[in-house]
């Protein structure tokens, strides 16, 4: 069943009700005709008007007591027949109507139409989220908190129904349909001019792939974020130009490698990409030394590769691990103490539990920590439902794929400049990151800050853009970063990255940097500073005040009066 076949519910209803309606018309016609033909008292026949009146109130079982003229026995005989005929007719019609209303196809048609209408009525930018699982829920919640709108498509009707219970601030249209069908995506506003991006977050790689292809062909300009569970699928997605492919395990392995060789860069990264409003916990950094890894599956393999790149020795515990990766393999079950001892857990500095079973992972971690209390423990959480257990255990790092994907999506979507900046800092050395982290967290604290990007163009920063066009080269970056309520105070925000149209970019631009129209800035700071900065660049008066300290009156009349007063003062 594709949505195209049940587009117009009205026509479907009309088609289904054809037979009952014709039956009803026929029954009415026969009854009325018979009543006009039956001889009444004194041989006078009933007129059409009276007959129709009588049948109308009898057939609909309203049953007035009023009869135009007293009936003869012939008329009574016919009226009896009419009553039974009419009851059958109405029962059939109403029965058909109710069965139509309860019909699955019809309900789907109504729901799809309702959804499509809701989406058409969105006249502000929105994101299309495919898949409302753990990841989808996380992303939707964060988008909602950021005041962004979203449209959700989820195959499973139960999960789609859950969405309504979560109480979002903004209205979030949700359709229970298969996102791999292009028609579904079209209903969900893929081709709408308000659609800002597509997020394929279902747990099925093929569906994500289908969404990516549909988006690539139907809306080539939209950014598409795809979740990929395996390297093959990721390569496939990359082959037709999907820009953001998020493989949670590969991403984590990347972070782990980063944390091993540049812990401060890693801290900076988690601080910048965390969920807004949450505090980043400073846990100890993964130590270098011998590591033990339990479960050599897809995730395990990626982690081992990351360890290899960092030249950290690993011992693998698995029931049937293949050889050829150059590491020592202990065959067996990591949940037992004897296996862990054979893998020399006492000399190890850390353990990674990466099996596909949450209880196995917890059991491994608990046993290993008993044997060696100083172990650095990395745990993989498969189902978010078990998070209470993982919280209670207090591992050093818990790998939650849905969270990794969620953070990544939000970072890419809401702040397009963040990604190139993160790529830049990955190339810097650890000391550089250490200095930056210290500077930023001293100023803004360890709570995840607001990170946003601004393009200084006519649409996003009209006041500043006009000002720059009039007096070019006059505004320095530092001039802008002042509090619009009190310009003596600095704005609680910092510019991390500046990008110009000609592919020129500056990391941590100095306050003396002259800004030009069209520049793009990546800022970090407190949420209030974000609003203040937006006010500065969009409101001409605020901008004047921030740049010059002059509080300009608004409106022509006041401007004129002020001008006169200035001139008078100049003359006098």
């Amino acid at each position: 069943m594709t949505p195209a076949t049940h587009h117009s519910t009205l026509f479907l209803a009309m088609r289904r009700l054809r037979a009952p309606l014709i039956t009803l018309i026929t029954i009415f016609a026969i009854s009325v005709l018979g009543l006009t033909l039956a001889p009444g008292i004194g041989g006078e026949k009933m007129s059409f008007f009276h007959a129709f009146y009588f049948i109308s109130y009898t057939a609909t079982t309203i049953g007035f007591g009023e009869i135009p003229i007293e009936f003869s026995n012939e008329q009574r005989l016919w009226a009896t027949i009419c009553i039974y005929l009419a009851v059958v007719g109405w029962a059939y019609t109403i029965g058909s109507l109710f069965s139509l209303l309860q019909d699955h196809t019809f309900q789907n048609a109504v729901a799809t139409e309702h959804f499509a209408r809701q989406v058409r009525r969105i006249h502000e930018p929105f994101y299309l989220v495919c898949g409302y699982g753990e990841t989808g829920r996380l992303v939707c919640k964060a988008l909602d908190r950021l005041g962004e709108r979203a449209v959700v498509v989820e195959r499973n009707p139960d999960k789609a129904g859950e969405q309504e219970l979560h109480g979002y601030v903004t209205d979030m249209p949700c359709l229970a349909a298969d996102a791999s069908l292009p028609e579904t995506l079209r209903f969900a506003g893929l081709t709408s001019r308000h659609c800002r991006g597509v997020l394929a977050l279902t747990d099925d790689d093929n569906t994500n792939l289908a969404v990516a292809i549909s988006a690539r062909l139907l809306a080539p300009k939209l950014p598409v974020l795809c979740r990929a569970g395996s390297t093959e699928i990721a390569a496939n997605m990359a082959s037709f130009g999907t820009r953001y492919i998020i493989n949670p395990y590969a991403k984590f392995a990347e972070y782990l490698a980063l944390a091993l060789h540049a812990p401060n860069t890693y801290h900076l990264l988690t601080w910048l990409t965390g969920l807004p409003g949450t505090a980043v916990e400073r846990h100890r950094d993964p130590p270098r030394g011998k590591w033990v890894l339990c479960g050599y599956g897809g995730f395990g393999k990626v982690i081992v590769e990351a360890f290899d790149r960092e030249a950290v020795p690993v011992t693998i515990i698995d029931r049937e691990a293949p050889d050829g990766h150059g590491h020592r393999v202990v065959k067996g079950d990591g949940t037992g103490a004897s296996t862990l001892e054979r893998a020399n857990i006492n000399q190890a500095v850390g353990i990674v539990a990466t099996t596909g079973n949450d209880f196995d992972n917890l059991s491994i971690a608990v046993t290993a920590r008993e044997l060696n209390p100083n172990l650095f423990v990395i745990l993989r959480m498969n189902a978010y439902a078990n998070h209470a257990l993982f919280d209670a255990f207090e591992s050093d790092v818990t790998v939650v794929p849905s969270e990794i994907i969620g953070h990544e999506c939000l970072a890419v979507l809401t702040t397009p400049l963040l990604e190139p900046f993160l790529a830049e800092i990955a190339t810097k050395d650890d000391a550089w990151s250490a200095e930056l982290v210290e500077q930023l967290t001293d100023r803004f604290g360890w709570t995840v800050p607001a990170v946003w990007s601004v393009r200084l163009n006519l649409r996003r920063a009209p006041a500043l853009y006009r000002h720059l066009m009039r007096n070019s080269g006059s505004v320095r970056l530092g001039d802008l970063l002042r509090n619009p309520h009190d310009r003596a105070a600095a704005l609680e925000a910092a510019v991390l990255y500046l990008r110009r149209d000609d592919d020129d970019h500056i990391i941590r631009p100095s306050p003396d940097e002259i800004i030009r129209p069209g520049d793009r800035l990546l800022l970090v700071g407190l949420p209030a500073a974000r609003r203040d900065f937006a006010l500065t660049v969009t409101n001409g008066h605020t901008l004047d005040y921030v740049l010059t300290g002059a509080d300009r009156p608004g409106g022509w009349v006041w401007e004129w009066l002020a001008e006169r007063r200035r001139r008078a003062a100049g003359a006098g």
Binding site: L12, M14, R16, R18, I25, L33, S47, F48
Partner: protein, 127 residues
């Protein structure tokens, strides 16, 4: 041959012929216009309308609209008749009859359009 098409064509043509049968005759002479024929025309028109439900093509939409026009006109005619015969109390005067018949004449025009569309559709499909 398609039974559905037969029934469809039958009702559309019957609606037009019954309407015509009621319409012909002296405009204001009540004896030339039989109320049973008007009744039959209304019933057949209603059935024809319902048969046209649910066709999403352009031609189907025009079909449905002509039928709705004919229904409206015929029901108006019946109401005028009922008003004349029962409410005014003078019975069917030539004046009243002329009103009823001219309304049914309008319906007849809509029915003729409907028949023309039916013929056009048939010719167009060449099957």
């Amino acid at each position: 041959m398609n039974l559905e098409k037969v029934i469809f064509g039958f009702f559309i043509v019957l609606a037009a012929t019954l309407n015509f049968g009621f319409f012909v005759g002296d405009l204001s002479n009540p004896e030339h216009h039989d109320i049973y024929e008007l009744f039959a025309a209304i019933v057949v028109n209603l059935i024809a309308t319902v048969l046209k439900f649910g066709d999403r093509t352009q031609i189907g939409a025009v079909h449905l609209s002509t039928s709705l026009v004919a229904d409206l006109q015929l029901i108006a005619a019946a109401m005028v008749w009922g008003y004349g015969a029962h409410v005014v109390g003078t019975g069917m005067t030539p004046d009243m009859t002329a009103k009823v018949v001219s309304l049914s004449g309008g319906a007849l025009f809509a029915n003729v359009v409907s028949v023309i569309i039916l013929i056009a559709e048939t010719i167009m499909q060449r099957r």
